[in-house]
Amino acid sequence: MTQTTYVRAVCDALARAMQADERVIVLGEDVAEGGPYTATAGLAERFGRERVRNTPISEGTVAGVAVGAAQAGYRPIVEIMFIDFVTLALDQLANQAAKARFMSGGQLSVPLVMRTQGGAGQRGGAQHSQSLESWLAHIPGLKVVMPSTAIDAAGLMTSAIADPDPVVFVETKALYFLREEIDGEPPAVPIGVARTFREGSDLTIVATARMVSRALEAADRLAADGIEAEVIDPRTLVPLDVDTITASVSRTNHLIVVEEAVSSMGFGAEIAAIVQHAAFDDLDAPVERVGAPFTPVPVSPRLEDAYLPDADAVVQAARRVLSLPGAVR
């Protein structure tokens, strides 16, 4: 067993891919310096500045360079430093990368990975704290990956780089420096397979990214009251492992979806819409969504802490779906 962190696991996975395949290149602002979070630290020293390329602050064009290089047979990994700035690259992502295979009748492939990171909790303010992954899930032709642990980050990165289509890899800044034990080289994790972190028969909690640990904390607290929650991390939003979720709900008959994004048009809406349809007769209560309120992210510490969904919110939601006494509506 060795100790790693989420960001270290990402970096190591990049290094392994670069080692294994010359076509893998890394592009982004200050990536050859390691970036502000060390996600690419050491890659330039090891693989050279030809393959690990600093770029100007030109998110749109740099994303497009990755599309072109991918079309020419390279496997570019392009970093958008904060998901908030994916706004500047969305034209390239949605109109070029996602549609190239389709519009060319299958002639073009765009095997790129766009790495970015989102989420709040670091007093970054409204423009450096968003969770915009659900936008990406609305674009046919993109895959969207959002790991919650170091080992999944590593394993999914390996698969994302190998994928023939554009994959947006959404990391979470608040997870970057959490320690995790791993045993040898993390195995590839297939895109589109959920992970069940905890089994339980009373209630299913689907949570993404940072919310997984909060869901697990809630599950522990619920267990103290004799309620066994199953906690599932979809790990990839597109394609979504619907089967694992609906199979769980068919056993537990209750579902909570927990995400850090604002609930309105968040990914929880899609899961709720799918599950109420696919498992209508199994559900004993409405699907509860736990997410951020419909405001920008405040920077003042108490407000930001209150803004983020926490274990308490999950416990409350559980009490509501299970109609337990003391549930707050």
Partner: protein, 342 residues
């Protein structure tokens, strides 16, 4: 329908103006290519009015010389990107007219199996990486293929076609900056027709010449008349030759005329047609004149080039008409790779 053979790569001429570098064979080839584009575009206009060609259709009549003089100096191993007015570029780069026409008519035999259409032509086999409907949208992609060529080594070049309207997009500047920073083997080819949709260049910028816009970046650049095919040929030839040697980027601005409305169906009521001037600037007419003056063209050959081109397009149209529409399951099959292989 025979595919048009690609021109063998030619050495760059010494002179960068006139038709100094243009041999008789080149002249005939270019004239033939322009006629093929003209015949295609005229037919596409008719078919659009007859509702046999679909969607937003932008013709390049009057601008054939640029497509011909640039693409006929390229190889299938090069990479070409274009924008919304791309039929001529695709054809000159080697896309077969039958499959091109079939694409415009939404058929399964089309270059993109009917999933792309007029603004999204792609023919990878001939290095035509493709058109885009987003103005400026493909500029960054061209840097990507040029970067790939640079990393791979070798002599492949990328050409990026765009209009003067695209010069005011942020993507243009980001792309020029990054291409010069990375010294990419890439030739930016701007077709400056002085119009973007319904407004003249003066409504878009104070800088009339695109080659002036990029001056600070220190890249080599030139402005030529797009009606003077020889001038385009020479200027592009020099840039391409240097780019094959690993230099770059370069910018070639070709001053052209848009003889039709912005798109087919556009009433074009916002400007005065200057038919006489356009006629005078017609690249086909000008090269024809030159060929006859220089002795490499006879009126008979001229006529047969046109006739051949029109016959080819007739055949392409028939091919497309005979072709089936794509099967209903195609969109779902081509959204992502099915077999997991790139």
């Amino acid at each position: 329908m025979t595919r048009v053979d690609r021109q063998p790569d030619v050495a760059a001429p010494d002179s960068a103006s006139g038709t100094a570098g243009l041999s008789a064979a080149d002249g005939l080839d270019l004239l033939g290519t322009m006629w093929r584009i003209r015949a295609l575009e005229e037919r596409v206009g008719q078919l659009k009015r007859a509702d046999e060609v679909y969607g937003l259709v932008h013709l390049s009549i009057g601008g054939e010389g640029v497509a011909a003089a640039v693409c006929r100096q390229l190889l299938a191993s090069d990479a070409v990107y274009s924008g919304h007015r791309a039929h001529g570029h695709a054809l000159a780069q080697g896309a077969p007219s039958d499959r091109l026409m079939a694409e415009l008519m939404g058929r399964d035999t089309g270059l993109c199996r009917g999933l792309g259409g007029s603004m999204h032509l792609v023919d990878l086999e001939h290095g035509f990486f493709g058109a885009t409907g987003v103005v400026g949208g493909n500029l960054p992609l061209a840097l990507g293929t040029a970067l790939a060529a640079q990393l791979r080594g070798g002599t492949d070049v990328t050409v990026s076609f765009f209009g003067d309207g695209a010069v005011q997009t942020g993507a243009f500047h980001e792309s020029i900056n990054l291409a010069t920073l990375w010294k990419l083997p890439l030739v930016f080819v701007c077709e400056n027709n002085g119009m973007a949709e319904f407004t003249p260049r003066s409504a878009h910028t104070t800088v009339a010449r695109v080659s002036d816009v990029v001056a600070p970046y220190g890249l080599e650049r030139a402005t030529v008349s797009g009606s003077d095919v020889g001038a385009v040929w020479d200027a592009f030839g020099a840039f391409k030759h240097a780019a094959r040697g690993g230099e770059g980027p370069f910018l070639l601005e070709c001053l052209t005329h848009r003889r039709r409305g912005h798109y087919e169906g556009d009433a074009d009521s916002y400007r005065e047609a200057d038919e006489a001037e356009w006629e005078r600037q017609d690249p086909i007419a000008r090269l024809t004149e030159r060929g006859i003056a220089d002795g490499w063209l006879t009126p008979q050959t001229r006529d047969s080039l046109e006739a051949q081109a029109r016959a080819e397009i007739d055949a392409a149209t028939e091919f497309a008409r005979r072709s089936p529409y794509p099967p209903p399951e195609l969109p779902a099959q081509l959204t992502c790779a099915q077999d997991g292989a790139a």
